[in-house]
């Protein structure tokens, strides 16, 4: 059984890559493209759940691609941590694709191909056991992301694409240089063969530090976080939600993996991780309080979230890693839910600015509830998953006697709550601002106008009515009040909100899996044995 599963591992990369290319070749079949994309993502989700089940007892599945000798071939390895990452990324991608289909963004010809190739890159980056191949798969992840980011077309969207591309290319080049240095000092780039190498030889440790620095830029930890806060708010909400759970989180996964394997969790360098984590938490949450639109608040909050997850690798105890892995997975879901629920408002009312929204509690009660659930989970209130995540993480810092970092984590939670309350009071409470309706309708017209004019003109009696002809957001230019978030736009955020509630009530299951994953990092001997025998 396990033998067969590990032989099939490359399918997780080949499948989306092939289907992505296939759907790029389809010209006019909108529905087939939607179908291919959803089926592929569902299949990836099913496959990763199967992998979670297969690795839940600590089994490590490994496959030498091309069946070359161990150490010569590129190994694809799946342990509990990688299987969990794959499953959560698949859930997130599904929600974001559903949202993009609701906003009609997914109608763009290359939207689905880009998403599928992005997912192939994610699967490769998570499974690979070779750091040069990690670099290649990170590029496979990034190239379609550049396309998705630039697809927004607007001038501002393209400016942020420039920043995104340049910073990521610089980080990738640094990663490449680091990989070169590791090869020069250690003689291999295979993670299993490199186990503990950096703990023994300072030259390899420096090379490893270059690799970790490069990946930290991709994870947006604090000295190098500005690129993220100036690019993620500038694309569409669907793309921001997709990216929020992928690029930075894969980078954090790589930091975990490399520090656990190459450095063997060396205690001497842990203070660096803890310092970076503390500064990242504080700066991220303070920045969030200072912003003035829903999406830019949430993007800054992503940074403080990265800080929390970094605590795990900074403590490097079983308890700390368990809590941080739980936090990583819970955060992917909650963050995406927040991006999608505020994104639904943004797509309907045409603005994310706090001073231009208001009274949404009365107008859109369902969105308000979903936002409330995710926001409470983010801040760390029971009964949602965020409570379990934060409680165990702060418990782990106290257990490791890192009082300062534990204290910072508690205080930062309060600052996060201020940021969430800021969104709540200005967007959901208070009076409806003047001209909200008019702006929403004009926005609908500006974004969807041309397309729907064409639709209407093909009807038997062409009219000058503008706007989506189907459900809720129907914006009739001469009509009265019709701007409403459509059910289709709410469903993805609602699904993710239900997941966070489920993870909060049934935290035990995920906690055990996270503990298994943490043990795999603390003691990588099973990983090494699976890869090089």
């Amino acid at each position: 059984m396990n033998e067969m599963l590990s032989t099939l591992l490359p399918l997780l990369v080949v499948g989306p890559l092939f289907l992505g290319a296939f759907s790029a070749a389809l010209r006019r079949s909108q529905r087939i493209r939607h179908g291919i994309s959803l089926i592929t993502l569902l299949a990836m989700l099913a496959a990763s759940i199967l992998l979670v089940v297969a690795t839940a007892d600590g089994t490590v599945l490994a496959h030498q691609v091309g069946l070359w000798e161990a150490g010569v071939a590129i190994p694809f390895v799946v342990d509990t941590l990688s299987a969990l990452m794959l499953a959560f990324v698949a859930v997130l991608a599904l929600a974001s694709v559903l949202f993009a289909m609701a906003t009609h963004e997914a109608r763009a010809r290359f939207y689905h191909p880009f998403v599928l190739i992005l997912m192939a890159g994610v699967a490769g980056a998570v499974m690979t056991g070779d750091i040069f191949n990690l670099f290649v798969f990170i590029e496979v992840m990034l190239l379609p992301s550049y396309g998705l980011m630039a697809m927004m077309g607007a001038k501002l969207g393209a400016d942020s694409a420039r920043i995104f591309v340049t910073v990521n290319l610089l980080a990738s080049t640094l990663l490449l240089a680091g990989v070169g240095l590791v090869y020069a000092t250690a003689g291999t780039v295979n993670l299993a063969e490199l186990q503990g190498a950096a703990a023994e030889d300072p030259a390899i440790a420096i090379a490893g530090a270059v690799v970790l620095t490069a990946i930290s830029i991709k994870a947006a930890v604090v000295p190098v976080h500005g690129w993220l806060t100036r690019t993620y708010p500038m694309t569409s909400p669907a793309v921001t939600a997709l990216f929020s759970g992928i690029h930075t989180k894969i980078a954090i996964y790589a930091i975990y993996r490399i520090y656990a394997m190459l450095f063997d969790g060396d205690q001497r360098f842990l203070w660096v991780g803890l310092t970076v984590a503390a500064v990242t938490m504080v700066v991220g949450s303070l920045g969030a309080v200072g912003e003035n639109s829903t999406r830019s608040i949430l993007v800054f909050h992503m940074i403080s979230h990265v800080g929390y997850i970094m605590i795990g690798v900074g403590l490097f105890t079983t308890l700390g890693l368990t809590a941080a892995i739980f936090y990583l997975l819970h955060g992917m879901i909650v963050k995406a839910s927040l991006f999608l629920s505020t994104g639904a408002l943004e797509e309907t009312y045409g603005t994310a600015r706090l001073d231009r929204l208001g009274g949404m509690l009365k107008r859109e009660p369902l969105v308000a509830v979903i936002f409330m659930v995710a926001a409470l989970s983010l801040v760390g209130m029971p009964p949602f998953s965020g409570f379990v995540a934060k409680f165990s993480l702060i418990g782990a810092t106290f257990e490791a006697e890192q009082w300062i970092i534990g204290g910072v984590a508690v205080i930062v939670s309060l600052i996060s709550m201020v940021a969430m309350l800021k969104i709540w009071t200005s967007v959901f409470m208070g009076p409806e601002p003047e001209g909200l309706e008019r702006r929403a309708l004009t926005y609908q017209q500006a974004i969807h106008g041309k397309r729907y004019l064409r639709v209407e003109a093909q009807a038997e009696q062409p009219t000058l009515q503008v706007g989506p002809p189907t459900t809720g957001t129907a914006a009739v230019i001469s009509g009265e009040r019709h701007a409403r978030v459509t059910p289709k736009l709410i469903v993805p955020a609602a699904l993710l909100a239900v997941v966070t509630l489920g993870l909060g009530l049934g935290a035990e299951v995920l906690m055990q899996l996270a503990e298994q994953a943490a043990q795999g990092l603390m003691d990588p001997s099973d990983y090494v044995k699976a890869v090089i025998g």
């Binding site: 501002l156 420039r162 340049t166 990738s172 090869y183 708010p233 045409g350 500006a446």
Partner: protein, 115 residues
Amino acid sequence: MSVALMVGILTAASVYLFMQRGMVRIVLGFVLISHAANLLLFSAGDVAFRGMPFSHVDDPAQRADPLPQAFVLTAIVIAFAISMFMVTLAITTTTDDDTEAAPTAPAKLAAVAHL
């Protein structure tokens, strides 16, 4: 040593170019820094071995390490693809390739800024 010097010069030049105004200069900086990274990868295979890596005649002790050459070959095409995309971004977004303007607002917001 000559490889190390060259890597240093290329890196210094690229860092200088990154700090310049104008997207095309930044792209040129990236071309230089990927040259630097590729040279570094070559030197990782120890440049003392000068023989052809794939030859049945030569003494294995003389052959260059083929693995870094494969790394470089991969890295070249990746950097080439991204450079092309960056050049496209430089000419498509605004009327010139100036990089000084600092946008601060979400894109959707800007799309309806006139309202």
